[in-house]
Symmetry: C2
Subunit: 403 residues, 2 copies
């Protein structure tokens, strides 16, 4: 990566022409916590998006999907603390109203504004708080990091990154933020992600590249196997770099693709690492699957097995649970063929335990990053998934309840 | 049920001609804990069976599936503490050897003996302990309850039931035991269940009825969404009641079917109630689904949603998590149509929150049995699933680890 691009500050406001701003409008119960944010470009952008495949889709997702048909946009307004989901016609009306409020604030047409909501399901948005909050938001190219903070729910830290690289010999930028934490599984799930770039990109190619990047990154993250109703990933390309718009034939297309993949995979890993209650990041690498789809099944299966997630929490190299999760994933599986590695240590060969160095295996389970490799010995399919362990912290986060 | 059949003692040894026996042979680390058991009929039985659909199937499952092709059997030998899974050729050899040891003990042909193992995956069976233990087992018609105990792993109590009812005007019996606790999800999963009856039953009909009963009972239980490698449900019908063998045309077929369904549903509920770390039994009733398959998807989805299981643990009537789990289950789902009830209290109508009696809803969440009803308003499909909450206890059971 060192040759192609380098990391810079300000995440989503790093590319030229983007500003962000936040405020605490009181949707979250704790007073003073940022819960409302705007990200805006100085000029209209080409926009691409990927959304939850959930059958219960929140109102802002429905709005985004409708507005994405034009492929144009200039801003997004986001609140945390309330998902505006399972809120019926009133919820849809409120989502549109939210973009109108932002449009007035920004002096733009509402059709250029997207919106997202994340938080509790089944309650109407407190519109008075939004009406009071949106006009107060102060926008600046310095506030990308504040934007990353304002969209958090149970995240313990913001997730953000920006890269600088060259297109047509000129320095350009790509920035990104995500929020995650709970209700995370493929596909996506209580995940919001916004990406910005000053590179000019053709819309159809941008949509295809975003879809592919999300499939290999956000869609490979699971915290608890629960799928969300509000997943949204949007990319805004404002073209201020002045390059010939990128498409598959552009000589620098691959550079942009690599930057997009680097950012989305980085943010995916950070979401898994910061899963609710997580103390360990696990990376599951499956190879030798019949095909890629099978590798994806097997890799994801481990990230959403509570039994294995508990073993991970306890630092227990219980490879039987790894084999059981992979074997029940629906992938083609030969129970006399698979190998399993924990870190660099091979634990099982041809479906059976081998004499392995127990100290090495325990050391590989003890850190805050654990790598599991499964070789199914059935073909050339490979995939990587990320997840975390299952701890008391996850349960406390999701079960402690006061009326 | 009162009219058709009544409960009696001794579970699997309640039907005439069945004996059981147990011993502590030292497979489980705690000395003196029963871990080896035999169940035998005085005469050969018609046998039917249902097994895990896992791609990693334990050696005893492979043995049972092979021997079931004859549809004849007379005994089963079971050990707990070691699953004999992911053990390759040696494991298969050991499973056969286990039945040979039981055959010698019982004076029967090995082909009439089935076997099961449950416990840790990936270690070879300690055959010396089995060789020493099996001959020591003392068999008696009184030891059905001891058998239920010896097959437990992390279960906190045995699960057992026997019913007496009439076939052709004569009193007959059907008994059953299960073990469950963790790694439980549809289909079946670390679940062993043995059923015995003195009723004569035609083999094909017995297999069909067992399959149907299991689909509506054991296959509707989830503790943690993890599927097991060792699931086995066997029914032994020894025919000592002397009736004309039951088939679909027999006038008393329905009585037997109801008894079989009553026992399997009772044992399924008891497994969910005794899930690892469980403090609450949840029953999920889905109606109004497009069809039964859709109802099954939606009902199971709740029993394996960690987010909802945490809310259940906390007594939180967080219906958004119910809707989110059902909506992501893959069933047909109209987000503006569904109703949700907690206990008798309707919480959501047409996909939105309604003004409900909060005290009632909280009371319905507070007990050790919680009923959730979801009406999808799309058709006539219905299904019931059982599960439990997710607590620190589950994590402790599965993550506390000492080398």
């Amino acid at each position: 990566m060192a040759e192609l691009f380098h990391e810079i500050d300000h995440c989503v406001t790093a590319p030229q022409g983007f500003r962000a701003g936040t405020t605490a409008c009181g949707i979250k119960s704790d007073a003073g916590i940022k819960d409302l944010a705007i990200l805006v470009s100085d000029v209209p952008c080409t926009v691409a998006g990927v959304f939850t495949t959930h059958n219960l889709r929140a109102a802002p997702v429905l709005l985004c999907q409708e507005r994405l048909q034009d492929g144009q946009g200039q801003a997004v307004v986001v609140n945390s603390g309330n998902a505006n989901c399972a809120t019926g016609e009133q919820g849809l009306h409120n989502a549109y109203r939210m973009t109108e409020l932002a449009a007035t604030k920004l002096g733009l047409a509402p059709e250029l504004i997207f919106c997202s909501s994340t938080g509790i399901i089944g309650r109407q948005l407190p519109m008075k708080k939004l009406e009071a909050g949106i006009p107060q938001i102060e926008l600046s190219p310095e506030y990308g990091d504040a934007f990353a903070e304002a969209i958090m729910t149970t995240d313990t830290r913001p997730k953000r990154l920006a890269l600088e690289f060259e297109i047509e010999g000129q320095a350009v930028r790509l920035g990104g933020v995500t929020k995650g934490a709970g209700m995370i599984r493929p596909n996506m799930a209580t995940m919001l992600s916004y990406l910005t770039t000053d590179v000019a990109v053709e819309r159809a190619w941008l949509q295809q590249e975003l879809r592919d990047a999300v499939n290999d990154s956000y869609n490979m993250v699971s915290v608890d196997g629960d799928m969300s109703t509000n997943d949204t990933c949007l990319i805004f390309a404002n073209g201020l770099a002045g390059n010939t718009p990128l498409n598959a034939q552009h000589p620098d297309a691959e550079t942009f693709r690599q930057a997009l993949r680097y950012i989305t995979r980085y943010l995916a890993r950070e979401m898994a690492r910061d899963g609710e209650g997580a103390t360990k990041l696990q990376t599951i690498y499956v190879r030798g699957a019949r095909d890629k789809a099978d590798a994806v099944l097997a890799a994801r299966s481990l990230t959403r097995s509570p039994l294995w997630q508990c073993a991970l929490a306890g630092g227990d190299p219980n490879w039987g649970r790894i084999a059981a999760a992979a074997g029940s994933s629906g992938c083609e599986f030969d129970q006399n063929a698979f190998d399993i590695f924990i870190g660099e240590t091979q634990i099982a060969a041809k479906g059976m335990a081998i004499d392995y160095d127990q100290d090495q295996a325990h050391a590989a389970m003890a850190g805050d990053e654990v790598l599991i490799t499964i070789d199914l010995h059935l073909g050339n399919g490979e995939a990587t998934a990320w997840g975390c362990d299952l701890t008391h912290g996850y349960i406390d986060e999701n079960s402690l309840y006061t009326r």
